[in-house]
Symmetry: C2
Subunit: 437 residues, 2 copies
Amino acid sequence: MTGSKKKIVIVGAGFGGLAAAKQLAKSDVEITLVDKRNYHLFQPLLYQVATADLSPADVAWPIRGIFSDQKNVRVALTEVQSIDRENRRVIGDTASFDYDHLIIATGAKHSYFGNDHWEEHAPGLKRIVDATEIRKRVLMAFERAEVAAAEDEQRRELTFVIVGAGPTGVEMAGAIAELAKRSLAADFRQIDPTSTRVVLVEGGPRVLATMPEELSAKAKKSLEALGVEVLLDTMVTDVTEEGVETSSGFIASGTKIWGAGVMVQNMANWLGVETDRAGRVQVEPDLTVPGHPEISVIGDAAHIPWKDGTVPGIAPAAKQAGGYVGKRLAQIVAGGAPSSEPFRYRHQGDLATIGRNAAVIDFGWAKLSGPIAWWLWGLAHVYFLIGVRRPLFVMLSWFWSYLTFQKGARLITGLRPLFRADRPDGAVRENPKKNAA
Amino acid sequence: MTGSKKKIVIVGAGFGGLAAAKQLAKSDVEITLVDKRNYHLFQPLLYQVATADLSPADVAWPIRGIFSDQKNVRVALTEVQSIDRENRRVIGDTASFDYDHLIIATGAKHSYFGNDHWEEHAPGLKRIVDATEIRKRVLMAFERAEVAAAEDEQRRELTFVIVGAGPTGVEMAGAIAELAKRSLAADFRQIDPTSTRVVLVEGGPRVLATMPEELSAKAKKSLEALGVEVLLDTMVTDVTEEGVETSSGFIASGTKIWGAGVMVQNMANWLGVETDRAGRVQVEPDLTVPGHPEISVIGDAAHIPWKDGTVPGIAPAAKQAGGYVGKRLAQIVAGGAPSSEPFRYRHQGDLATIGRNAAVIDFGWAKLSGPIAWWLWGLAHVYFLIGVRRPLFVMLSWFWSYLTFQKGARLITGLRPLFRADRPDGAVRENPKKNAA
């Protein structure tokens, strides 16, 4: 009975995987959407979870809820181990799934350029647990500084280093500077949070390298207005518990955050094809894998030529590719020949935000910066959230933060010890501010 | 300079500790508020985090934010190890604090009646991490059932046992039944979530034992209307990974939640006084510790006689005691003699909710149940949240859930494996619903 329907397996419930599944809503197929998490993550706002503006539930949405009404989709919570290409079968850790067509949409993570041991000291920001871990580290830094016995220890705790000045790095740097200088300013008695140092380290010659130079310059200016130190043309050579070693010197820092590089895992293993240096699959013009017309790769995991380089790893690109592949498969399962049109990426623009009230936007036909850009940035994200998340809540959270400078989600949760075990037993320290007065 | 001011240390930022600190807002004292977490927890709504109705940030509020404007309070994030009563000093793991007056407001946790190894299988609900852990277990039970190969394994995963029919147990049972039968009903393809069994096991003869019998009966009826099986006069004799052994038989269950017993820790050690069987300190009529007029104990940690028993361990009682002690200390530090009035508890009523649209309330002068009681329950909680939390957000979350039956916070987060390691490798299972049709 069920054998007559074509089986489509989609691995990954990010923007690409969802778009593909939705495009197939009216097709007479059996779709299995496989993900190791039970939620779709709205990654563009994840940094706001890390900086305590939003809660995890504001940027993540249970996959099952998204497909409650689309009966040709079943959701499987499992972690893919391998792909049996000969028998057309996806092998997960708790279940396996046969396919007639397979869509790989597993995304990318940050790259430590061969220094994976840096991750422990400088986590990247890709998952909910990353965001809550970074939130915890950022908030705990102020707590540790408040009870630190030595001046240099206090300075170290109040120094935050962000590596990589792409959108995530720029947004994190702006948000941490604002957190310190506005939201937390009145909350401590021994330290002055406004003395916090936020250092953004970038190997290239400008921030937001994919955007026009003019906007890079404006973004840098906005960051500096918030007190962020921007170090360009600066290479990171080591990351330790104590700080970050760079080509222009050592920065003692208690909290390091990684936002550089792109790395795609598993593709060579799973698909038996060659990948580019970032691990991405070099797909055909119709996004299928060379030699495997029944397998498509979309989103960050695919290397798709565009202009002088490749299609960027952003949500709209993944959505477009997912829609393209979904439509193509719908044509195939309907018995027709798929359109021979290759995938064509349409770039809708770039945008990034720098703290409250500043953003830079490049629509191609227009470049914006300043408060108007900020409000447009917010509207754009709320618009993209519609149908996926409760935009009302996100808007209200922002509006509330905007009015009050209170960060509602400023929670340090978890079971591990809050302080490092090697801290010297803290003695009662007199208030340095009072002593100085 | 700072030595001339009286030092007041408050341990615990629950309802009691906050009330005491706020009562001292206008006093010329140096208050140190010590807690091992950085947030105040609105415990009466914590179960809604466990059942995915609310996010952690909806029921917890950073302590520093609460006291931003009260400059005589400094907040210290540290875990108290011991109290040096002779030198009047609280010893924490990262810092220590001298006191002239000490207020202990550390609360209570559930008691496993000497079987602490049951906790691993049946966690209680006292902290944010408990709530997110229980949420994860509840949601993962449905996920595991969806991929379970054997029928009895599926039944076991879809059986939830809650031990203890106090307010937490009753509220959890009602909320899980509703989650399964309404919110998740359309989300699975292999299992039917509406076939979920929720069993509430209570050792005593009725649910909500502290409330009038009439309301206990109504609460039981409301639970049964939601499909909850209520087992009264039933003792739990063992809790294992596989299920719960009771005086009326074994219940195979994948998810067990503990809501029974009360236990206060550390009091005998810290204060060198005798405690009652639950570990609570038998305080003087002015809430001070016998032999230590400079130490007060309030909230769940105190044994305060009332009527035939003791003052109940609920938020209004802790607030009243905190206000009383704060006022008394304000009189003392102002140089006057404290009022000789003993602490008098005023009981304002009991309330509990059973799923959507049903609640029971006992004001003493009035007893309510049904939808009107439910709306009053909601209003009462929103009222208590004012000044502590963003009541608007909680109201909107409720209103949204109410309209849509969607649970916004249905996230399974964390780094540990989602499935138990001992699961048999899952084979692809045909859809039993389809086969049966």
